[in-house]
């Protein structure tokens, strides 16, 4: 994307290929590492553009700094639950899988955590239940995929249907009100002006980043998604790890279920509908490769925030959700197109660049 930085990176490459390793060090791999950075910058650009559009439509609101800060908190709060789910989803996709059941698992966890029986155990009981249900169902996904050799798409699709069914069964298709003050207060609590839900999102994302980039767990995830056979022949327990990835996604669903319950002070079997699509889309526009082996937590986080900001903008502009969905669709397409253009554009650029330098040099 940024032409000038490419040029700077490329400049030392004029040496013949066999010279000092230091030459190569400045270029290619770093270039790859900077690639997600550049994409994130692109998403920041999108956010700024959305802000500018908003300011153009409603100058009255956007000229008020208090309103703007509050609105940013609204956007982030809306992004919180789906953001937590997207972190789990990013792990699953990088590991070469997909999890279509996240929305259903949130509904199931939320409903299970708000039955009268569970509520009688207090907030700790509710949180424990939501997380346990999420992890348990995620493990079922994982076992089916890793040991039952089911295709992830099918296994988690089946889980989607089954978990929604079970949630409806448990709740009797009723909205279950949460009577627990502690749970309900989570959504309204602010710490130094930042909503608690946003802090939870940032904490989960931060832990996810460390897990992915700094631990052996993350390394295994990337290896398995990059080449499962190579990982297996290197002695990595591919099946066991795959199972854990789905459990991790389930864990994120359990956390998100509590967040949503707190926001709505209730739960129902139809909660978090189509979250799976939003989470997958957010991961993809954040630069996670759908075929596995590459992706970043920060990119996914930006993806979620972009979607949330669009929803927010449409609400402010009073536009119908149909238009909103069309714009979302367009953004997904553009993001995926950008991913495909990437490689050829880099080499093309290098070629043009090489051409211009070749003459003075030789």
């Amino acid at each position: 994307m940024s032409v000038s930085s490419e040029e700077k990176v490329e400049a030392p490459g004029g040496h013949p290929p066999h010279t000092a390793p230091a030459v190569a060090k400045t270029s290619w791999w770093k270039d790859e590492a900077q690639e997600p950075m550049r994409r994130n910058l692109g998403l920041v650009g999108v956010l700024l553009a959305l802000f500018a559009i908003g300011a153009f439509i409603r100058p009255d609101l956007y000229s008020n700094p208090d309103w703007v800060i509050n609105n940013i908190m609204v956007i982030l709060t809306q992004a919180a639950a789906i953001g937590v789910v997207t972190v789990g989803m990013t792990f699953v996709i990088i590991g070469g899988g997909i999890d279509l059941s996240v929305g259903a698992l949130i509904a199931l966890s939320g409903v299970w955590a708000t039955t009268l029986a569970t509520q009688s155990f207090g907030p700790v009981g509710m949180i424990f239940t939501a997380v346990a249900v999420g992890v348990g169902a995620g493990l079922v996904n994982g076992v089916l995929i890793a040991y039952g050799k089911l295709v992830p798409f099918i296994a988690t699709l089946a889980m989607l249907v089954a978990a929604r069914g079970l949630a409806a069964q448990i709740s009797g298709k009723q909205t279950q009100i949460s009577a627990d003050q502690f749970i309900n207060s989570l959504a309204t609590t602010r710490i130094v002006g930042i909503p608690l839900l946003v802090i939870i999102l940032l904490a989960v994302a931060g832990l996810g980043w460390v897990l992915l980039n700094r631990t052996t767990f993350g390394r295994r995830t990337v290896a398995i998604g990059g080449n499962a056979e190579a990982a297996r022949l290197a002695g990595i327990n591919v099946r066991g790890h795959t199972m854990l990835l789905y459990a991790l996604s389930g864990l994120c669903c359990g956390i998100a279920a509590i967040m949503l319950t707190s926001l709505a002070t209730s739960s129902q079997a139809a909660a978090a509908e189509l979250y799976e699509l939003d989470a997958i889309a957010a991961a993809i526009i954040g630069g996670t490769l759908l075929s596995g082996g590459r992706g970043t937590i920060i990119g996914s986080l930006f993806g979620v925030i972009v979607f949330s900001a669009i929803t927010n903008l449409f609400a402010i502009a009073n536009l119908p959700t149909e238009v909103q969905n069309m714009v979302k669709g367009a953004i997904i397409v553009v993001a995926v197109l950008l991913q495909q253009v990437r490689f050829s554009s880099v080499t093309q650029f290098a070629r043009r660049h090489g051409l211009t330098r070749a003459k003075p040099q030789t």
Partner: protein, 516 residues
Amino acid sequence: MSEQAADTGEVVLRLSGVVKTFPGVRALDGVELEVRAGEVHCLLGQNGAGKSTLIKVLAGVHRPDAGDVQWLGERVEFSGPQAAMKAGIATIYQELDLVDYLSVAENIYLGHEPRSLGFVHKGQAARQAGELLGRLGHGEIPAQRLVKSLPAAGKQIVSMARALSHSAKLIIMDEPSAVLAHDEVGNLFRIIRELTAQGIAVVYISHRLEEIREIGDRVTVLKDGRTSAVNLPARSTPTRDLVSRMTGRSIEYVFPPRPDTAPGETLLEVRGLGRSGEFTGVDVDVRAGEIVGIAGLVGSGRSELLETIFGARQAEAGTVVMNGKALPPGSVAAAVRAGIGMAPEERKSQALLLGQPIYRNMTLTNFSSYASAGFTNAGKEQAAAMRVADQLELRPRDVNRAVRTLSGGNQQKVVVGRWLLGDTRLLILDEPTRGVDVGARAELYQVIRDLAANGVGVLLVSSEVPEVLGLADRVLVMREGRVVREAPAAEINEEDVLDLVMAGSLTAATTEEVAA
């Protein structure tokens, strides 16, 4: 084609001053090449010299940054591989480029299926594919079979059939013999001679000098992206000259001497190992400090045997005992824990994370051992990988690069290098020198011998019989899934081995003796 044949010797392809840069690397830096109709033109050069890049420029995969490509007397710039094929240039790439889930016939005719009105003639495609395979001496490969289920050598044959299906004027072959066994190479050469007799030009890349002597007409040598010699006579140029033009120094192409000391205690004990349709009743022992070589044709069950010992395939009969402990069948993790490492046959699909940096590929088996409390330590990993890179002359010596950007031979060094880290007690090597250049090969032999001197046991498979005989202490010869001979390497010679692995039945052996 016929007019070409009449004018054998006419220049069909001329390159001058071709430059190709990748970010950070000048892969080609002013290359000259001249190819005549009906000749076999060989390209020589070390790993990373730019051979594959050059042929990708010819094949329309890469566009040159500068320089001139003249094809049949006209300056051309191919817009893509399809354009080059249309113009009459067919290519067999070093890294196989077949579609796993299509059939053999579909792969051969991919992109130019026999068809009318948009409908593919499946029957015709299959029949023609069968004929091509027959011409290649492999009529037994079923045209309807999925390519995924073929062994590496079978895939190479399919690649070759695909190139032949294009009725091209120039066929480029990038290390076609790397995955082929001895008799298959003979087959390949027969085909090449048929092609050149029809006036078709062949560009042939190989690291095996003896092949170039046998099949080549002229040689062009690349060094660090530049042409260091053009149009040398392939048969008469002394090896010393070729090697020094490739490497800038002279390399004695020898195997390290065998030590006098007897090998230590038995590390690996394989008894009665079998898998139906692959191999039966195999017994193998490997002792500490010993190099055991397995010779045999592709399809003799060599690779399958290695993978089964390693647990990558589930044994159906027999036992694998490592260090006195029986290994559970079908568990790679258990084998690795017991100290076994394996460099598999197909580097791209079985061993490498192409998008990941070199150091992460090297530490793929033991990154946890550099980690503390589950946190990885990139610095330590890079330092360790750097040591191996030095040892194996990896080029470029930068462990932060993505493996994808390495040349074929250098990728192979990464696969083998992985097991030089960590404490492997038994190393299983399947075609360890595939695609590795003369200089680095000698280096690799020394590294393997040094490992053995340090008490590591090595079990090695190679299609190159001299390599097995030169490197190993003890040799097993396999045929059709059975071990037919076991002997100290010093007591068996190349002809014995070839006799044993070939059709090898008593009658064949006796007729040969009569003939001799």
